[in-house]
């Protein structure tokens, strides 16, 4: 039985094409992936991302515990700020990527991937129980079923949301948020975060508040060309940015160094889970690395396709983690793990796309760059 978000009826009304997404019945698209993608890049799109998991961690020692559990350095943020970070195991393998929002000095909202809610929660509890005596009375609560999460993304996101809230949205900088009474809801978190690479906001509100907020945003955005967007366009948007997706770019078998996420690992902070393994890997060096590839011929690269160094298919050097036709660039693009020596910019490699070997080139990422108008 698929789970339904609070917005299920809204998706049905809008003729969303509903699919099983990590156990949730969510729209993959409403009309067209490309149209939704382009709308989000040029105007604005609204996404139901309520399947994401939410934990609350609180207590006097909550911050020091989280700073031990996660790779980034939470001492760099304060109330009203958010941080992208990783949950690693002791081997440095990635259990999940997540965002920490500091609500109060002793209270944090942690947003995790839907497919990882149970694993993450277990890891939070395991690591905490090993350290309980050091950091007593930290509460870890799984509130995933109590939130509706709506992402409003795109260059017009701000002007669409502004009339609905009594706060100046210009004052919310990227990776910052406010928790206010807004949109007829007592407590809503309005964060300048997202997973598309376009400007925008993510809203966290009580589950049952979803439909009214969804409807008022859609109404406010009608004249700006706002459209509901499904998860397929969320995927093509994040691929254009080379944002990792758990299960594809990042898994237990990949480390932050390999995934190009070493900026989220603060080696100079005190001990944290995975630190020794990651220091070890840093000194020895990595053997594979995540890169962006642009195809030099037409075709559509997809997850799992193999990559070779030669056109004779002799020397396998990697695999595609995510690939698509880029709607913004109108070319095929891929994110891939390649063996170290082939990861230099402009290296030429061959992707086995179905029964053909197509030449591709290691390219700069993000694939998509915002223009001035945006």
């Amino acid at each position: 039985m698929l789970k339904k978000t609070a917005l299920f009826e809204e998706h049905t009304k809008l003729n969303g094409k509903l699919v099983d997404f990590a156990g949730w019945n969510l729209p993959i698209q409403y009309t067209s992936v490309i149209d939704e993608h382009v709308t989000c890049r040029t105007k604005a799109g609204i996404f139901d991302v309520s399947h994401m998991g939410e934990f609350i961690v609180k207590g006097k020692y909550a911050k020091v515990f989280l700073n031990y559990l996660l790779t980034n350095d939470l001492s760099l943020i304060s109330n009203g700020k958010a941080q992208y970070t990783l949950l690693c195991n002791r081997d440095g393998g990635i259990i999940d990527d997540l965002i920490v929002y500091q609500l109060l000095e002793d209270q944090f909202l942690i947003v995790v991937n839907a497919s990882n809610i149970e694993n993450d929660f277990a890891q939070f509890q395991k690591i905490y129980s090993e350290n309980k005596t050091r950091w007593p009375e930290v509460e870890i609560l799984n509130k995933s079923d109590q939130y509706t999460q709506i992402a409003l993304q795109g260059p017009l996101a701000k002007e669409i949301l502004q009339p609905l809230v009594n706060i100046n949205l210009d004052e919310i900088n990227p990776f910052c948020f406010v928790e206010k009474s807004a949109l007829d809801i007592k407590n809503v978190i309005i964060a300048r975060t997202g997973y598309t690479g376009s400007d925008g906001f993510e809203l966290y509100l009580p589950w049952e508040g979803g439909p009214a907020v969804w409807q008022s945003i859609l109404k406010s955005g009608t004249s700006s060309g706002l459209k509901p967007c499904g998860l397929a366009s969320r995927d093509t948007l994040r691929i254009e940015m080379k944002y990792p997706l758990y299960g594809q770019e990042i898994t237990l078998n990949t480390t932050p160094l390999e995934a190009g996420l070493v900026w989220t690992v603060k080696f100079n902070k005190e001990d944290f889970v995975g630190k020794d393994a990651l220091i070890q890997q840093k000194s020895v060096g990595i053997t594979k690395k995540l890169v962006g590839l642009e195809l030099l011929q037409r075709g559509v690269p997809r997850t799992g396709y193999f990559i070779y160094s030669d056109s004779e298919e002799q020397n396998k050097i990697g695999y595609v983690t995510s690939g698509t036709h880029s709607p913004s660039l109108n070319t095929p693009i891929a994110i891939a793990y390649l063996d170290g020596e082939f990861t230099k910019l402009d290296s030429e490699v061959y992707i086995k796309v179905r029964n053909k070997l197509l030449p591709a080139r290691v390219t700069k990422t993000p694939f998509y760059k915002k223009t001035k108008e945006q």
Binding site: V33, A232, V300
Partner: protein, 128 residues
């Protein structure tokens, strides 16, 4: 969803239209709708000989790749080249401008194996 009456159909959601001994082949509206935005197309060269049931090309959408199967035996006499440059036309007009290839056939009896519009419409409705 439209189902042109003068077409024959396959279980793989292709259509075939006979005119003299030339069969025009395309994919159905149901096919384009299931695939979503089509971004890439591979079609055979003119003069390629196709056997019934043989793969003759490929359609890729943002979401999925789908092989094309020849509904009949014959020789390719024309390929819709402009479509390769503008694959989205397959989404917009699958039954007209989105035709794929024209094949000269030598055994008209093979057409009897294809589905009538009534059979195909029934098949699609069962999938819905």
């Amino acid at each position: 969803m439209s189902f042109p009456k003068d077409f024959l159909y396959t279980k793989d959601h292709e259509w075939a239209q006979l005119s003299d001994n030339i069969v025009t082949i395309g994919i159905t509206e149901h096919a384009q709708n299931s695939l979503g935005d089509i971004v890439y197309l591979e079609l055979p060269e003119v003069d390629t000989n196709l056997n019934k049931g043989e793969t003759f090309g490929l359609v890729e959408s943002v979401k999925a790749a789908s092989d094309l199967y020849s509904p009949i035996t014959g020789r390719v006499i024309e390929v819709n080249k402009p479509l390769i440059e503008e694959p989205s036309e397959l989404n917009h007009n699958p039954h007209s401008n989105g035709w794929l290839i024209k094949v000269e056939i030598n055994n008209e009896a093979e057409l009897n194996d294809l589905l009538t519009v009534a059979d195909y419409e029934k098949l699609v409705n069962e999938l819905a």
